[in-house]
């Protein structure tokens, strides 16, 4: 068994342990600890595997880049796990099954992230989607969660169907399902050329649904609002990270960039999601829906990375720099997002902007953290978000993608407005004090905020260590 499978394997054992523990005696704390332990061990092995894993077999590609991504994934899940216990206490449901599904989604993510073959990709995708349905519809009586669960079920099934259809056509054309040899210029032209394009479009539909990019973005706001908070956090970070890595691997390994139409589709979708994502969020009152629309916009920005054609001649458009931009942007965006969701977890009763009123004057630490996270999302300097945007602009400018860049500027200005609205809401004089009184800023959440601040602002002001680490990985 290849040493690189150990992290997934450990998580699998963790899940089994929880199952066995369920049979004997239901105790929330033990399942919490088991899942925590398995996650921690998986993280350690992943760290250990970081510097000498470079084998690749049929189903999985296990080089430095994928191990970095799975490391990032595990760290994000670890951060979400840290607040799971407090949040679950407030839910009057069976607690232990949540950890089970939680671990299964992580395993699905790990598989999907390092997959190099349609089979493994499909396996990971389904494992993650189905366990997500469970996570979403977890709270029985809550009608919104039910509705969200049904929507996610139907839509993800539809998306998988599209991806499979695309895979099937490509398999018919190229005879193999692994990503690396989807070379377009084979001798035998089995299917008419438009068939390959339709296959790619079908796969794009499925993946764009997962990434909630513009034409298929309608579901994400309802899911964020309907699903329980932690599930929404997982959806925002885990499923989108895995889907984007797959999209990136498909486009780069499969050299889909030299089809001019793919470049057009990608740039149109990127520009559309930047604008529509930001316009949707403009006057949005519900905080979670706001975060959903901002994630549409951010993945619109990230799509620019796929438009960059690697040629090592120009300084900032070499293969390694494009991957660095991708990873840096993912790290920055995911950490900021996890930070925002952990803040929301600490403010249970607060759902809309008006509830936020006066938070700054009652709980300064939480308010300042949320403020800095909003600035990081907006891309104001001295935050991680700005460094990510700087990488992106450097890469795009060196390839003279002026249309996309102007869209980036205009949409981030529009985006700036609703990030400022959140900050503005916190500064307003509070309408009713009681809602703010109930927030018990306990010790553990304070330390978590400090950690998030360290990640977002620390790396924002001194990004050299992070950028060096990413530079080594992307080779």
């Amino acid at each position: 068994m290849n040493v690189n499978y150990y992290p997934a394997f450990i998580l699998m054992c963790g899940a089994l342990m929880i199952l066995i523990q369920l049979c004997f005696k239901r105790s929330h704390i033990t399942s919490y600890l088991i899942s925590g332990l398995s996650l921690f061990l998986a993280l350690l092995t992943q760290l250990f595997l970081q510097n000498h894993a470079d084998t690749s077999d049929v189903l999985f590609v296990l080089n430095a880049q994928t191990s970095f991504v799975s490391l990032l994934l595990l760290m994000v899940v670890g951060l979400i796990w840290a607040q799971l216990y407090h949040w679950l206490k407030t839910i009057n449901e069976q607690k232990e099954e949540y950890y089970l599904l939680f671990l299964f989604t992580t395993i699905g993510g790990l598989i999907m992230v390092s997959s190099n073959h349609f089979a493994s990709f499909f396996l990971g995708l389904e494992l993650m989607s189905l366990s997500f349905i469970g996570l979403i519809a977890y709270c029985g009586p809550d009608q919104k969660a039910q509705e969200a669960g049904i929507k996610y079920l139907i839509l993800s099934a539809l998306a998988s169907a599209f991806i499979l259809m695309g895979a099937a056509i490509l398999y018919l054309q190229f005879g193999s399902l692994s990503f690396s040899n989807l070379m377009p210029n084979t001798s035998s032209q089995i299917l008419p050329p438009w068939a390959i394009i339709t296959a790619i479009i079908f796969i794009f539909t499925g993946l764009f649904f997962k990434l909630s990019l513009v034409p298929c973005h309608l579901w994400v706001a309802d899911l964020f609002e309907g699903a329980p908070l932690v599930t929404a956090a997982m959806l925002a970070t885990l499923s989108k990270l895995a889907a984007f890595i797959i999209l990136w691997r498909l486009v780069t390994l499969g050299h889909w960039q030299q089809y001019p139409i793919i470049i057009d589709i990608l740039s149109m979708v990127a520009i559309a999601s930047m604008f529509i994502g930001n316009f949707l969020g403009l006057l949005q009152k519900n905080l979670l829906r706001l975060m959903a629309y901002s994630s549409i916009a951010h993945f619109g920005y990230l799509l620019i990375v796929l438009l960059l054609i690697n040629n090592n001649a120009i300084e900032f458009s070499s293969q390694s720099f494009n991957t660095q931009t991708l990873f840096f942007y993912l790290v920055a965006y995911l950490f900021t997002l996890v930070g925002v969701f952990s803040i929301f977890m600490q403010l249970p009763k607060i759902k809309t902007l008006d509830d936020l009123a006066g938070l700054f004057w009652h709980h300064p630490v939480i308010a300042i953290t949320l403020m800095l996270l909003m600035l990081s999302l907006a891309g104001i300097p001295l935050t991680l978000g700005f460094m990510a945007k700087f990488y992106l602009v450097m890469a795009a400018v060196s390839q003279q993608l002026w249309l996309v860049l102007s869209a980036l500027v205009l949409s981030s200005i529009i985006g700036l407005f609703y990030y400022l609205r959140v900050i503005m809401a916190m500064l307003k004089t509070p309408a009713d004090e009681l809602k703010l009184k109930e927030i018990n800023s306990s010790g553990s959440s304070l330390s978590l905020n400090i950690l998030i601040l360290f990640l977002v602002i620390g790396f924002g002001v001194f990004p050299s260590s992070l950028s060096q680490f990413i530079q080594q990985i992307s080779g």
Partner: protein, 104 residues
């Protein structure tokens, strides 16, 4: 020997029929059924492709994918049906158009 493009056209048309089913139907059960139809359409293409390519490269990826898709369809339907039961118990109807509490 039936030319592969015929099979391709068959699976594509089946796929589109399933797609139409998902869009047109309002009842959740029928949506699940048409989803099943779409997955079967894909399966046909995989089997045909694997059969077509078996001459040149002796790989049976297609068949393995078929097995995977079947298991997926089964587990998906299981979860779907549990949601259907749950929905019926709460709403006493299966019309998904009425499920629009989550809106902007």
């Amino acid at each position: 020997m039936i030319p592969i493009s015929w099979v391709f056209m068959l699976s594509l048309s089946l796929f589109v029929i399933g797609l139409f089913g998902v869009l047109a139907r309002r009842n959740l059960l029928f949506i699940l059924i048409s989803l099943e139809l779409m997955l079967n359409a894909v399966v046909i293409l995989f089997i045909a492709a694997s059969r077509y390519h078996s001459a040149s490269i002796a790989n049976s990826d297609g068949q393995i994918m078929y097995l995977l898709i079947l298991t997926l369809a089964a587990s998906e339907i299981a979860v779907g049906l549990s949601l259907v039961v749950h929905m019926y118990r709460q709403h006493h109807h299966l019309d998904i158009d009425k499920l629009n509490k989550l809106r902007d």
